[in-house]
């Protein structure tokens, strides 16, 4: 049974618009609608995968949850507290519980700080530990992420990409958080190293009871690590379901196209697979299409799709989709198959 107690993070109608200024007096002429009405629930101890192409707003969702951006409107509840309404100081203290692992392990570590200072900095910032305690904690964390504790006095440039990402993971764990936003933590790493970091993240989740929001564009990795998966397109979530449900029974035409575009390391697979190749590029989030955002590239769109934004509704238990064509399900399938031939 799901109760409200299970829900760790709840996002309601989150909107994040970045203003565009033009001219000498810097008048606001428009806004990039990076996130435009996203509602999600993240349950205690689960991994929610958030996938989409570049520019769809998935990173902005992650950052807005952590209040790294002040949301334009909407609510972010963490254990019942609305983070969007918190004053700076209580929010700062709240950050102990909410941490982030960044995409680029080369850009997210200060090259002039030693590993000890990088990992210990969060403790120092909260002013609650002596130097000796920090040293001990750093040693403990390095062991936890399977790095040699003797590395504490080295600088980031002495490490490889995979090792740097482990340092980033250790830093996120310093304050014993319960919720971590993983923003494409493996996409900058080599294939053989990706598996190491993913296994590490899974072990840590099991041992420390962490909850992850796992942002990625690699759909096969997301299926592997997530419990539930949300698919974003141009600032809105178009589909949300359990991971096996979304891969076995995708309903939204964008999810279908995305899944069919994944390269699979099996040459025989390509002889039988039907691909849905989407035409064109993602429209600009400064001027998104009316109605359904996906209609300009959608193989089954018609005039009715331009009229209003499709409601994000539950079509089967736990499976949400935002498409007016779904419901005439068999119909949708046929049309897509025809288009892709």
């Amino acid at each position: 049974m799901k109760t409200d107690n299970d829900i760790l993070v709840k996002i309601e109608n989150l909107v994040m618009h970045f203003p565009i200024y033009r001219g000498v007096i810097r008048r606001q002429v428009g806004a990039v609608r990076a996130v435009d009405g996203v509602s999600l629930e993240i349950r205690q101890g689960e991994t929610l995968g958030l996938v989409g192409e570049s520019g769809c707003g998935k990173t902005t969702v992650g950052r807005t949850i952590l209040q790294l951006y002040k949301p334009t409107s909407g609510h972010v509840y963490y254990k019942g507290t609305d983070l969007a309404k918190l004053k700076p100081e209580p929010m700062r203290l709240m950050r102990k519980d909410l941490q982030m692992i960044f995409q680029d392990p080369y850009a997210s570590l200060n090259p002039r700080m030693t590993v000890r200072d990088i990992i210990g900095d969060p403790m120092f910032a909260f002013g609650e530990a002596s130097g000796k305690q920090i040293d001990e904690r750093v040693q403990e964390l390095l062991k936890l992420v399977r790095l040699d504790p003797d590395f504490a006095n080295r600088y980031p440039h002495e490490f490889s990409g995979g090792q740097r990402q482990r340092i980033g993971v250790a830093r996120a764990l310093t304050t014993n958080p319960s919720f971590i936003v993983c923003d494409e933590p493996i996409s900058a790493l080599d294939v053989s190293i990706q598996a190491q970091v993913v296994n590490l993240l899974e072990d840590l989740q099991r041992d420390l009871g962490l909850t992850y929001l796992f942002i990625a564009h690699d759909l096969s990795m997301v299926r592997h690590i997530s419990d539930r998966v949300a698919v974003m397109y141009l600032g809105v979530v178009v589909e949300l379901a359990d991971r096996n449900e979304i891969y076995d029974n995708p309903l939204h035409p964008y999810t279908k196209a995305l899944l069919s575009a994944i390269p699979v390391p099996d040459p025989t697979f390509y002889e039988t697979r039907q691909r849905i190749i989407l035409e064109g590029d993602v429209p600009s989030p400064a001027n998104p299409p009316s109605g359904c955002r996906f209609r300009t590239r959608c193989p089954i769109a018609d005039e009715s799709c331009a009229l209003e934004r499709p409601e994000f509704r539950e079509v089967s238990p736990g499976h949400f989709v935002a498409c007016i064509k779904v419901g005439m399900q068999t119909n949708t399938k046929e049309v897509i198959n025809q288009e892709s031939v």
Binding site: Q163, V191, S192, Q194, L219, V264, P265
Partner: protein, 329 residues
């Protein structure tokens, strides 16, 4: 048996750095048949790009130096040609698509001019003919309103469209060999699928041979006829595409394929991971470069680097151990 259009033998490339000599490519022999697509797979730093750049003599020297080897293209050695001769081949008979379409296009030159440049040089046609041909090429790679868009600059194109422009440019002089260096890595999956489909279609229409460099075994499976896997500056396995994925034989290839999460897989199994890190190529390699990370490693592996040997039809591997039985070959 198809004709060999390119035959590389014993290629060695090194770079002089303050830390010492980096042995980037250590005796790579590889051939390309007419009309075939070869996938060159490996992780960053394994030497796959340097191999291709060496063949086209695009290695900056110093610090880089091609120490040994031959690259026979249509009877002549590319590595022994004069600068003037290689310029006739490069961009004309052999052309290349680079990884990052933003940094490989000139931001202050409009697309029309950039497209025309190689054609004026290699085909000896007039600017007007070059313009007409550019429009045709852009249309064939799927750029709408190509005529109007010739005067646009690269920043006015999206990432996928820039990569299409790169492809159109690479095809403009009817190359016999197209070298594609991770052309889809910087792109989103749906755009990547568009580009792969485009290249497959153009390959059928134009009949050129392709070398597709990638780190993504999934992309390689979708486009290549034959695959060569590189590690530490060596080719460690080479096989026809189906054979490679059905029977990966080198411990590294095996690990690489197993470490990928399979989209069809339901249960949550732990990913297979290759421990350790790729080698730093500062010493002359004597042992097998994969030995420090290999689970089948044995005494012999530390003493002698195995050569690429045939283990079946269209299948070569460089390993002392038969990974199916665990015994020495």
């Amino acid at each position: 048996m198809a004709e060999k259009i390119l035959d590389v033998q014993g290629l060695e490339t090194q770079f002089k750095t303050p830390e010492g000599i980096v042995h980037a490519v250590n005796g790579v022999s590889i051939h390309l048949d007419e009309g075939e697509t070869l996938g060159l797979v490996g992780e960053s730093g394994c030497g796959k790009s340097v191999t291709m750049l060496s063949i086209l003599r695009l290695i900056q020297s110093p610090p880089g130096q091609i120490v040994a080897g031959k690259a026979i293209f249509k009877g002549s050695d590319l590595l022994a040609m004069s600068q003037e001769e290689i310029r006739q081949v490069r961009g004309g008979q052999i052309s290349m698509i680079f990884q990052d379409p933003m940094t490989s296009l000139n931001p202050v030159m409009n697309i029309g001019k950039q497209m025309a440049e190689p054609m004026l040089l290699h085909l000896g046609i007039t600017p007007k003919e070059a313009r007409e041909r550019s429009i045709k090429l852009l249309e064939s790679v799927g750029i709408p309103r190509a005529g109007e868009r010739l005067k646009d600059y690269p920043h006015q194109y999206s990432g996928g469209m820039r990569q299409r422009v790169m492809i159109a440019m690479a095809l403009s002089c009817n190359p016999q060999i197209l070298i594609a260096d991770e052309p889809t890595t910087a792109l989103d999956v749906t755009i990547q699928a568009q580009i792969v489909d485009l290249v497959i279609r153009l390959r059928q229409e134009l009949g050129m041979a392709i070398i597709w460099i990638t780190h993504d075994l999934g992309v390689a499976a979708s486009i290549a006829n034959r695959i060569a896997v590189m590690y530490g500056g060596f080719i460690i396995e080479e096989a026809a595409v189906k054979e490679l994925y059905a029977n990966p034989s080198h411990p590294y290839t095996l690990g690489l394929i197993n470490s990928l999460p399979q989209i069809q897989r339901k249960g949550r199994q732990r990913l297979y991971s290759i421990e350790g890190m790729p080698p730093i190529l500062l010493q002359t390699p004597k042992a097998c470069p994969f030995a420090p990370r290999c689970r089948w490693v044995r005494e012999k592996c530390w003493q002698q680097n195995p050569m690429l040997e045939s283990i079946g039809e269209n299948h070569k591997v460089a390993c002392w151990v038969d990974t199916t039985t665990g015994s020495e070959r």
